[in-house]
Subunit: 212 residues, 2 copies
Amino acid sequence: MRIGTGEIYDDLQRKLMAAAFKPGEKLKPAELQGAYGCSANTVRDVLLRLSRVGLVEFEMQRGFRARATSPERRRDVAKFRILLEQEGAALSIANGDLAWEARLTAAHHKLSHVERQLVSAPDVAGGMELWSDAEKEFHETLISRCDSPLLLETFANIYVQFRQQMVSQERDFGSNYFEAIIREHQAIVDAALARDVEACKVAIYDHMKRNL
Amino acid sequence: MRIGTGEIYDDLQRKLMAAAFKPGEKLKPAELQGAYGCSANTVRDVLLRLSRVGLVEFEMQRGFRARATSPERRRDVAKFRILLEQEGAALSIANGDLAWEARLTAAHHKLSHVERQLVSAPDVAGGMELWSDAEKEFHETLISRCDSPLLLETFANIYVQFRQQMVSQERDFGSNYFEAIIREHQAIVDAALARDVEACKVAIYDHMKRNL
DNA sequence: AATTTAAAAAATTTTGAAATTTCTTGGAGA
DNA sequence: TCTCCAAGAAATTTCAAAATTTTTTAAATT
């Protein structure tokens, strides 16, 4: 089997989210081609699909760029994420059944385990990647019962853009950083399970406000 | 000058929004190619870009389809549009200056002129297209001072999807239909100019609720 | 020295065909 | 009759090169 275009997509998405390209850096199909052993047009296809998610900027006749970062854009992404996550959580609280509660509890359990490890052993290899995945799963589970495909899809797009903006932002990931995050996630899950919509919205805002 | 890829994009977007293709209908590059006198791959490129906006569905190895319509999806689009428009209007009311008020007034003036014409002469050629453009401009102006590129971009995408869902829905466009619409638009603009956020949100909801 | 213009280089888009995959059709076997 | 499989057809993806456009470079003019 040859190398699938899906793998190129995944690899580029991962690199884009890990800031392997400088923000605003030009992404030339002809250059990336070599790394994947495919034609330039195949890379072009993949980049076109990545621009759908917002990770890549595309302008006709002048190619692709890694999405630019700026404090303004960072705030914009954070604000929009708050809006979507608050709405998604509120709807999930209204619609969610026992199964949703169970999934949310499980996702939070996994996440807090990873986070406690990160506090005690901050430099363990792959720790951040593990955390990143667990965090994503937690937030997606939180809003999963909003029963709106559009909201879920948009949130997924915004989430990767959020990550892209964050990684390019210098930040000290000291242990007190993660201790705060742990408390914030706890507050969100507590409010959600208590079916307290307003408290949950506040908790989501508090969790994101450092990015505003 | 040859036919630009931008024109193919615009033409297909227009057709998609006017339900020139049946919902869920397959869109084969090889077939559309002939109509535009370009190669199949160029059409493919355009379809890939249209799937970015949500007008076209794309699935790897199995091509493109005109977006499917259903009551569920229609409701989903409407709900999401309410969320975005309420937030965008609220922010615009907070941020908007005199220039925003002026633009909003102008857009509404134009819109209500077209709408009154539509009531008195419902079958005039191109009336719906004129109304469609004016309506779009009005709603975009309403949220234009939210100062969030992401919100504006997402709204633009949702708006075309909304239109796509609406045109495929049989509806009687009697004169009382437009009379109701006129009142609703008036309520929105009144609340916005009065800087009454809550009233504006209610007016937006009332304007959209027939689609829920 | 600054601005314009012209030519060259580089990058992007488009093409037409080959390679691959998916879908369809028509038996063969149960 | 039904299911399964293979062969053929149709559709999609990939490729490498040609055509177009943009960007860069260097010279010429102001």
